[in-house]
């Protein structure tokens, strides 16, 4: 064929003229730049939060922030900045959420991994996971316009905005996280262990709760921790449905403000930049960031541990 003598030469000349080599050398660097964006993001978050947090703590003592109990950032005469009411509300809503998500999520996981046939699991699991994909603003709307009025039929004392209803809805949102990750952890418990228990005359229930769950416990705990960290960071549901009372209370029928909702209030609210109230938002955000970071690290640690078990 006419060209044939040339292919080698063509390749040779192309190689000599190629600018590819130079370009190739730059690629790892360019990719590295892209990869460093994520580090920059973290750095950006830290710097953003740190600067203003430092400014905040120049005006407000650690003691006041962490140990006193009043949060009145904009009070004209006697502003007070204690994170405790916000922290209390956050922990309370998270607690309620986990109160819903842990039993429902865990038993769902038990059902999927221990009782359900393969076919049922393959249909049911993705369906349950749909719950995790619903935007939180929709959950907020649902909590505010449906769940609260619904609950008020049974609990007349329930305020129009309260921590109970968003807590429950947050719990529903977290069910798939707990169910799906716990199910993963439980399915990776080897079948031979299940058989061992069955052969002793254990019922499925006894196998699940006395063998499989203990064996998968670190994975399950990791799923709880991830759920908790989601609940702590959740913003729109509480912003819409839990109101803005900054009282330190444990009455779940009352309106309360979580850390995230506080940030929303202040960013879209009345505190002028440069005021202590404005900086307080960063101090709260910093606390939130550190909190969720610790949670995520812990969850990672737990997941790793459970991978190493058998």
């Amino acid at each position: 064929m006419s060209y044939s003598a040339n292919v080698k030469d063509m390749i040779e000349t192309n190689r000599k003229n190629s600018k590819l080599a130079k370009f190739e050398k730059m690629i790892p660097f360019l990719l590295f730049l892209a990869a460093s964006i994520s580090v920059l993001t973290t750095l950006g978050i830290l710097v953003t939060l740190l600067f203003e947090t430092v400014l905040f703590f120049q005006n407000v003592s650690f003691r006041e922030f962490f140990l006193q109990s009043e949060m009145r950032p904009l009070n004209p005469t006697n502003p007070q900045f204690s994170i405790l009411p916000l922290l209390g509300a956050t922990l309370l809503s998270t607690g309620i959420a986990m109160f819903v998500a842990v039993p429902v999520g865990l038993t769902t996981a038990v059902y999927l991994s221990e009782y359900a046939t393969d076919k049922v699991r393959r249909i049911l699991k993705p369906l349950v996971e749909v719950l995790a994909g619903i935007p939180t603003i929709v959950y907020g709307f649902f909590a505010f316009t449906f769940v609260t009025p619904f609950l008020r039929e049974f609990i007349p004392a329930l305020d129009r905005t309260n921590i109970l209803s968003p807590g429950i809805v947050m719990g529903i949102m977290i069910i798939p996280i707990v169910a799906s990750l716990s199910e993963d952890a439980m399915s990776s418990v080897p079948n031979s262990i299940r058989e061992g228990a069955m052969a002793l005359g254990a019922t499925k229930f006894e196998v699940a709760f006395r063998v499989v769950i203990p064996a998968a416990i670190s994975g399950i705990i990791a799923s709880f921790v991830l759920g908790i960290s989601r609940a702590i960071g959740e913003t729109m549901i509480v912003t819409i449905a839990s109101g803005s009372n900054k009282n330190l209370t444990f009455d779940v029928t009352q309106s309360m403000q979580t850390m995230t909702a506080y940030i929303v209030e202040v960013t879209s609210g009345d505190a002028g930049a440069g005021t202590t109230a404005y900086y307080s938002l960063y101090a709260v955000a910093m606390t939130l960031f550190v909190f969720t970071l610790a949670m995520n690290m812990f969850a990672r640690y737990m997941t790793k541990r459970f991978r190493e078990v058998y």
Partner: protein, 294 residues
């Protein structure tokens, strides 16, 4: 010596078996609990939206008058937002994944990047909002335009794309790579011509998940300050805008002034959910279609 009293065992047996059956039913109910709530939620928003959701609603501009208000601006705002989020996360996410999977040597720093990415995935979205406010809106002086919102959202969903892309690049079989290297292809040629095409379906699935997340996120937009009333639909990335979830947010909290706003919010939610379900179906289709072994 006999420890097991057969009669006692026998009588407990009935109880245990009953309990097992009961719990099986309870667990099944619990597995359905979430689905029931989902159904109630859908029913709630859909029934609230009836009479309000119409073609006019989709194509009209925003108004303070609920009878003529529409979400054309919000839809376009969301679309423009995705015009930023799509390419930015795609490029950054895939590049990061390629770097980590193909170029980075195992080192403390690589581990650090990796840990950092999975931690970022857990940072509350409102904190990303503050980052966007400080960096894009204020520091870069962009103001609350589509570009600023899009970049903020991109950073928020970046970890989703990175992790999905990494997994899918890792799943590309070594023998395909070897084939390409064996032909004298350079590393980059191999990545571009062999690895990425094979990894693409997985990357796309990750992208769709990321976009779905970005479409529904509200808190970062609240933080960067989206105007409550903005009537003209945005026509580019430098315009100010509103987006579907923001409109839901404002209408929900403003329903105290005008009750009908609650129905508008519900109608908007239906639109938002339809978009999300469509996206997710596409993701599932892609996954099924390309779930091929090499």
């Amino acid at each position: 010596m006999q420890y097991m009293d057969l009669d006692a065992v026998q009588s407990r047996m009935t109880k245990r078996i009953f309990f097992n059956r009961l719990s099986k039913m309870l667990f099944l109910a619990s597995a359905f609990f979430g689905l029931i709530v989902l159904a109630v939620l859908l029913y709630d928003v859909v029934s609230d939206s009836i009479g309000w959701l119409s073609i006019d609603f989709l194509t009209s501009l925003l108004s303070t008058n609920p009878d003529i208000a529409g979400i054309r601006g919000a839809i376009l705002g969301t679309v423009w937002l995705m015009v930023i989020v799509g390419p930015v996360t795609m490029i950054l996410g895939v590049c990061t994944a390629i770097y980590l999977e193909e170029y980075a040597r195992p080192s403390k720093f690589t581990t650090f990047i990796q840990t950092n990415i999975s931690n970022l995935a857990g940072v509350p979205s409102i904190v990303f909002g503050l980052l966007g406010l400080t960096v894009f809106v204020r520091l870069f002086g962009l103001g609350s335009i589509v570009l600023a919102g899009g970049l903020t959202m991109s950073l928020l969903v970046l970890p989703i794309v990175v992790v999905a892309s990494q997994e899918s690049i890792r799943a590309v079989p070594a023998h395909l790579r070897e084939a390409s290297f064996g032909m004298g292809a350079t590393k980059w040629q191999t990545i571009k011509n062999v690895v990425l095409p094979v990894a693409l379906p997985g990357i796309f699935t990750g992208m769709i998940l990321a976009i779905s997340r970005a479409i529904g996120e509200t808190a970062p937009l609240v933080a960067i300050g989206i105007p409550a009333l903005i009537i003209p639909a945005p026509s580019g990335i430098f315009d100010r805008f509103t987006a579907l979830p923001m409109q839901i947010y404002y209408w929900t909290i403003d329903s105290v002034m005008v009750q009908e706003y609650a129905y508008l919010a519900a109608a908007t939610i239906v639109v938002l959910l339809l978009i999300l379900f469509t996206l997710n179906s596409i993701a599932i289709l892609i996954r099924n279609k390309f779930d091929r072994r090499y």
